[in-house]
Symmetry: C2
Subunit: 202 residues, 2 copies
Amino acid sequence: MSKVVVGMSVSVDGIAGGTDPSNFMVVHEAVLGWVFNLRSWRAEQGLEGGEDNQDSKAWAAEFERFGAQVLGRTMFDYGYPYWGDTPPFHAPVFVVTHRAGERIEKQGGTSYTFVTDGIERAIEQARAAAGGKDVLVAGGIGTARRALAAGVVDELVLNVAPVVLGYGTPLLAELGDEPLALREPEAVAGEVGVHLRYQLAR
Amino acid sequence: MSKVVVGMSVSVDGIAGGTDPSNFMVVHEAVLGWVFNLRSWRAEQGLEGGEDNQDSKAWAAEFERFGAQVLGRTMFDYGYPYWGDTPPFHAPVFVVTHRAGERIEKQGGTSYTFVTDGIERAIEQARAAAGGKDVLVAGGIGTARRALAAGVVDELVLNVAPVVLGYGTPLLAELGDEPLALREPEAVAGEVGVHLRYQLAR
């Protein structure tokens, strides 16, 4: 059975995003900037070049396995104009939102479907569309947290940027009253970042 | 030249300790409990048995390199009665404190020296005593943070417990106004935990 994976980039102190518009882009760059120069990330965007290193290989391994993705509405609204006519997902994307909307078809295998009845239903739809491949909950922070809190996630993948930020919004907070037990740790250090993977008890 | 290392155990969400007496022991167990069953940790305490696994090997590698350790007073006061006549340090220990005191000699190579003129002076004394080996700043949280904030740390070692706690005191906070850049990541996944190492720009 295909897995549901929360995969996000964080700093070493666990920060995944800014706290307000004044630091949104600075934190975004600190947490994700190192990824933008990886060959595998650039290939997903239709860009050439980039470093073909261990970080790039680790990133690629965490992309090719996914047959569908789930995004929150805030991330979708932010990213939509940048993702363009051939978005980097190359798979059906399910957007968790309160606002209904017609499905949008893009080139290169990406479609956007708007799901108004919650994260769990979006994950169900993504799983059905994934053709046996895994489902990635790619963000934003609120959507990832809600998926983890709902107990519907099989695996947590953290791409750890080599910085202690000291401010920003942590990914792994507000997940419920009980600690979240993880198992089967995997860790790969690239030239720049660290790639962690854990299985969750469901 | 010997290195100054901050080495601590944390949860996946970066928690290193409790927030008050009501959760001190629960967090301690969550963050460090997995270590107490490692053969190498047990050997340091003079105990037999324990798991001889990858986690144990990774832990041992982060112990044998140290010729002296630096501790904060709170950690010292808490641990002193438990550490007994043959403490687990097997090296000179320098305790950062406001209260002066006579040096205490223990068996098995451990001594306790009380340093009243700050973390940087304690690290200097530890380095002089380490005989060319590295110096471990082993905690508690406040002492580790002060060493990192003072810019006198060469390396950060994190033993990551397989749990997202959701509460407690983070290690990597209050380190100053600027983000802390890390480089040369190393990562080893054991059967239970993950062992991370970063170099700091000094």
